[in-house]
């Protein structure tokens, strides 16, 4: 056995802890690399399946006779010809090729072999370019796939750079401890090459265990990621049915890809081992031998830790900076990971929230955050045309004004819906003292859900129960002059429809009359058939007086345009029945809306089917489907972000654990020396905890500052480029601020607390282990 191999083997067995740590780093690095390749392989397989699903061959040939098709079998580039039949007749021939130079030449060859004349217009063909690419059959396809793989490889290289930190740290720590020994070896005649070879032999030996383990773990991690992606529902959005998903979206582990991932992981390990060896031989033997372990050449005397925690803090601060480069790298990776976790999460939440709300209707009272809006609901209307909303509306005017209760009951009884909101709107014009008409008035009767929705993003003037007992209307919107007057009551005039006889109706009915302005107009409903005869109504005025109480302006009421000069009054649903007598029957141009949320996401289809089945009672509009698609896409993006985040967090955590635990192990004799001078265990643990705190605290502070800056940037972008009012209207702002500053900062500090716990474990575990050794043994470590 060569002496390099022998020494490498001895070092591995002698430095068990370091060997385990390095092997773990190799396993993690190879696993992540293999996982990446497995996911690439899966993506390519899914894309191929998709292409195959569109056309199950490379070419589809139409207009060929059976004899002509038979002749094609002599073409060596053709692997298989399948016949597709419909009603016992051949529709097309599916061709699967082998090696094809160019699809154009191939088609020419087919024409030539089959003997297809130029003027034969029956013959035509389809080329499945995607499948040709995935199967790499043509020269162009090979080039295309090579380009795709090259793009993927760019990602792999970036990933490798990150992973290098993990493996490098382990090798460097283990070599650092042997620096003197390497110096001695060189002084007794070992060549620099041999020293490097010791490190690379160590890399190979540790890889024997690490690479296969990493490979297996990578395949498993790939599968976990694949399952996680499926659970987001993105596949459902892309492929629709579960049957199609099962057929197309399969986890594919290509042995070549796994091997390539493992090989790249191994190459990277060797790079790290070689690099470490090269760093070792940069020092002359004398430098290596005379270098005392943990020699410190420069220190920063002032430290915040010292100021806060006294001498233990001062020592901890100086210790942390002994390996400045690694300290900075660890703090940076930790900062990045905390920042990504917090800020990306918040921005994605904002996007999700925005998209969620973007699908909602913004009505007069603010944002309508429901899954279904049932435009009109009433008692059963036989034989109506479901698609004619106008007609339904007029038909409803004839119905019982309390019919909405039946609609609510039907919805409620179905068991599919929750948060059922009811808003009835009556309007008219305020009557001045001189009898003339004034400001337009809108009266909204709402149930508890409707009332609570108005005040969802701001403080309610009173609870709904208090509102019911209040007995007066709340003014939601009104001109300043009205608010200044503070009237106790308001009287307004509206329009009513009174049924009249067919004779009278036919006499005065004018089909060209303006529906909105002609108050004396006769309204006709029905299609004049025997089945649905005409019914006539005459317009009449009503006068109503409502008590008015407090005003409570809503920040989110949609009063930008028409509503700005109107008076909007809110009243509880409980009062509606009582006030009906005042309105005196069916009112012209009134409306009521019932909206609700879906109780269980899985019941979406049943709920829509229910609404469809009851279209004679209600016309439902759903924003749910589009919303669900947006949510699914966002969930997939979040998933990808989380994946990258996890990778960065893992690298940061491994670095931190490495630097902290090896820092403790490297200072074994020094810590023992301090104990000999009278340092208690408590003081030592305290110092170690402060050391951990420094990493986490620095990272958390940096991440918080960066987070605030990023959020400020995002908020400014949203406010000034996208437009703050869009967000304000959807109740997404708080004092003009769209993106929350507090949430990411809180998230950063919570994650930092988790990192702190990990750091403490990495520090206290080796310390406790060390404490099991007698002090004398610990102090001898240096001698």
């Amino acid at each position: 056995m060569k002496f390099e191999t022998l020494l490498a083997r001895r070092y591995i067995t002698a430095q068990k802890r370091h060997s385990v740590l390095t092997t773990c780093s190799i396993v993690i690095a190879v696993a992540l690399m293999t996982m990446l390749f497995c996911l690439y392989s899966t993506l390519m397989t899914v894309k191929r399946n998709e292409a195959y699903d569109d056309l199950p061959g490379h070419f589809a040939l139409y207009g060929l006779s059976d004899e002509q098709a038979e002749k094609l079998k002599t073409i060596p580039e053709i692997g298989e010809i399948r016949t597709e039949e419909e009603y016992g007749k051949t529709v097309r021939y599916i061709v699967l090729g082998k090696e094809i130079d160019s699809e154009k030449f191939f088609i020419d060859r087919i024409k030539e072999t089959a003997g297809i004349e130029k003027d034969n217009h029956d013959f035509h063909y389809n080329i499945n370019y995607d499948l040709l690419s995935f199967d790499r059959l043509t020269d162009d396809a090979k080039l295309e796939m090579a380009m795709t793989f090259a793009m993927f490889f760019v990602v792999v290289i970036v990933f490798m750079m990150l992973l290098r930190l993990v493996i490098d740290t382990s090798f460097e720590v283990s070599s650092k401890e042997r620096e003197r020994q390497f110096g001695v070896l060189q002084s007794v005649g070992a060549t620099p090459k041999q020293i490097v070879r010791i490190m690379t032999s160590e890399g190979i030996m540790l890889s024997v265990i690490g690479v296969p383990l990493g490979g297996a773990l990578g395949v498993l991690l790939g599968y976990v990621t694949y399952r996680a992606v499926l659970t987001t529902g993105i596949a459902k959005v892309m492929y629709g049915s579960q049957e199609k998903i099962d057929r197309l979206v399969t986890y594919s582990v290509s042995p070549w890809m796994v091997a390539l991932g493992m090989l790249l992981g191994f190459v990277w390990v060797m790079f790290s081992a070689y690099g470490t060896g090269m760093r070792v031989i940069k020092k002359s033997p004398v430098e290596s031998i005379s270098a005392r372990p943990n020699a410190v050449k420069k220190i920063r005397r002032f430290s915040i830790s010292g100021l806060l925690f006294g001498w233990t803090g001062k020592l901890a601060s100086r210790n942390a900076r002994r390996q400045k480069k690694r300290f900075i790298i660890t703090v940076l990776s930790l900062t990045l990971s905390l920042l990504m976790f917090a800020v990306f999460g918040v921005i994605m939440d904002l996007a999700e929230d925005y998209y969620r709300r973007a699908w909602f209707i913004v009505d007069d009272l603010g944002i309508q955050e429901s899954d279904f809006v049932i435009m009109y609901s009433a008692a059963e209307l036989p034989d109506q045309d479901d698609t004619d909303e106008e007609r339904v509306q007029f038909q409803l005017l004839m119905s019982d004004p309390l019919a909405y209760r039946e609609g609510i009951k039907i919805l409620s009884d179905s068991g599919y819906f929750t948060d059922i909101e009811y808003v009835d709107n009556r309007h008219g014009k305020m009557l001045k003292q001189d009898g003339t008409e004034g400001t337009r008035i809108q009266v909204y009767y709402l149930n508890r859900v409707g009332y609570d929705r108005i005040w969802k993003y701001q403080e309610a003037p009173m609870s709904y129960d208090e509102f019911v007992k209040y007995g007066k209307a709340i003014t939601l919107n009104a001109p300043q002059s009205f608010l200044d007057q503070k009237p106790d009551a308001v009287t307004f005039q509206g329009k009513n429809m009174v049924p009249i006889s067919a004779e009278e109706g036919e006499k005065f009915y004018d089909p060209d009359a303006d529906q909105d302005t002609d108050e004396e107009r006769i309204v006709r409903i029905g299609d004049g058939t025997e089945h649905d005869p005409y019914v006539y109504y005459k317009m009449e005025h009503f006068t109503a007086t409502l008590p008015v109480g407090m005003d409570a302006q809503s920040k989110y009421a949609n009063n930008d345009s028409s509503g700005s000069g109107e008076i909007w009054l809110l009243l509880p649903e409980e009062r509606y029945e009582q006030d009906l007598a005042m309105y005196g029957g069916q009112q012209y141009n009134f409306g009521f809306t019932i909206s609700c949320k879906l109780k269980n996401e899985s019941d979406y289809q049943k709920a829509t089917d229910f609404i469809d089945a009851n279209r004679h009672l209600m016309i439902g509009e759903s924003a749910y489907d589009a919303m669900r698609t947006a949510r699914t896409v966002l969930a997939a993006v979040k998933m990808a972000a989380l994946f990258i985040n996890l990778m960065v967090a893992l690298i940061a955590a491994v670095n931190m654990v490495n630097i902290i635990s090896t820092g403790i192990i490297n200072r074994k004799s020094e810590l023992a020396s301090m104990q000999c001078c009278g340092m208690t265990r408590g003081q030592m643990y305290r110092m170690s905890v402060i050391e951990c705190l420094q990493f986490v605290l620095r990272a958390a502070v940096c991440a918080s500052i960066l987070a605030v800056l990023i959020i400020w940037g995002t908020d400014s972008f949203m406010n000034f480029v996208v437009g703050g009012e869009i967000f304000a209207q959807r109740g997404m702002t708080d004092g003009g601020v769209i993106v929350s500053y507090s949430v990411p900062v809180v998230r950063i500090w919570l994650s930092a607390a988790v990192a702190f716990v990990i750091a403490i474990c990495a520090s206290l575990l080796p310390l406790r282990r060390m404490q099991q050794e007698p002090l004398v043994e610990q102090i001898r470590a240096v001698e």
Binding site: C676, V776, V782
Partner: protein, 228 residues
């Protein structure tokens, strides 16, 4: 008046066939202010004895009394405080804290004790150790002799009852060795501190009041020295 009493001290390492008796029923007493040299061949148990006297290593059996106090009757926390206040340890390889300056290394036991170092005492000690100019230097910026002086300063600063030195000149040239021994002798005389010095150097041993010879874990010779 006996200041340090050692009774039937035994220390064994390993088990069965590999068992080694590093100390084998060692007993002696040392009066306050005596400077004692412990000599003996390598592996005779000198360093083990010193570590046990300093409360660094626990004996397998036997007792150590320092100023009437049973050293090993204390729990580990009190033992650390005992080392801090009652013992000054000097090592051959100095064992200084690399991130602390010379001055900070010297005052470390006092700082660990939660006391503010007495500036007057520090100045006197730095003067005595000839380290005034080097007080802010890190151990890596000091010579071997200077590092050992810092180590002695650390041992002396808290005015402990006993100074234990494990081959304090073992890593130094003859000039530096002579300076270190003179320094220890001077401190012994000035502060009446009890000192136990392990050494291979005959010149060092001859400057001590008493020489204990240890061999195979036993005291084989106990000679008083007439040092003028």
């Amino acid at each position: 008046m006996e200041f340090l009493t050692v009774e039937n001290l035994c220390k064994q390492y390993g088990k069965g066939e590999t068992q080694v008796n590093a100390l084998d029923h060692v007993s002696f007493t040392i009066p306050k202010g005596q400077m004692t040299a412990v000599i003996g061949p390598s592996g005779s148990g000198k360093s083990t004895l010193l570590h046990i006297l300093g409360g660094v290593d626990r004996p397998t059996s036997g007792k150590v009394y320092l100023d009437g106090q049973d050293v090993y009757a204390q729990n580990s926390k009190n033992l650390a405080v005992f080392r801090r206040r009652q013992v000054g340890l000097i090592y051959q390889f100095y064992n200084l804290i690399p991130v602390l300056s010379a001055e900070e290394n010297i005052t470390l036991p006092s700082i660990m004790d939660g006391r503010k170092p007495d500036p007057k005492q520090l100045e006197e000690l730095l003067e005595r150790l000839s380290l005034k100019e080097r007080r802010n230097h890190l151990p890596s910026q000091l010579s071997g002799g200077q590092q050992q002086r810092v180590s002695i300063g650390r041992a002396l600063f808290n005015s402990p009852g006993v100074i234990l030195a494990d081959e304090p000149t073992g890593n130094l040239d003859s000039k530096n060795s002579a300076e270190i021994v003179a320094l220890l002798r001077q401190s012994n005389r000035d502060f009446k501190q009890t000192m136990i010095i392990i050494t291979h150097d005959e010149n060092v041993a001859l400057q001590c009041d008493r020489i204990l010879t240890i061999s195979d874990g036993k005291i084989t010779n106990d000679t008083m020295n007439n040092v003028s």
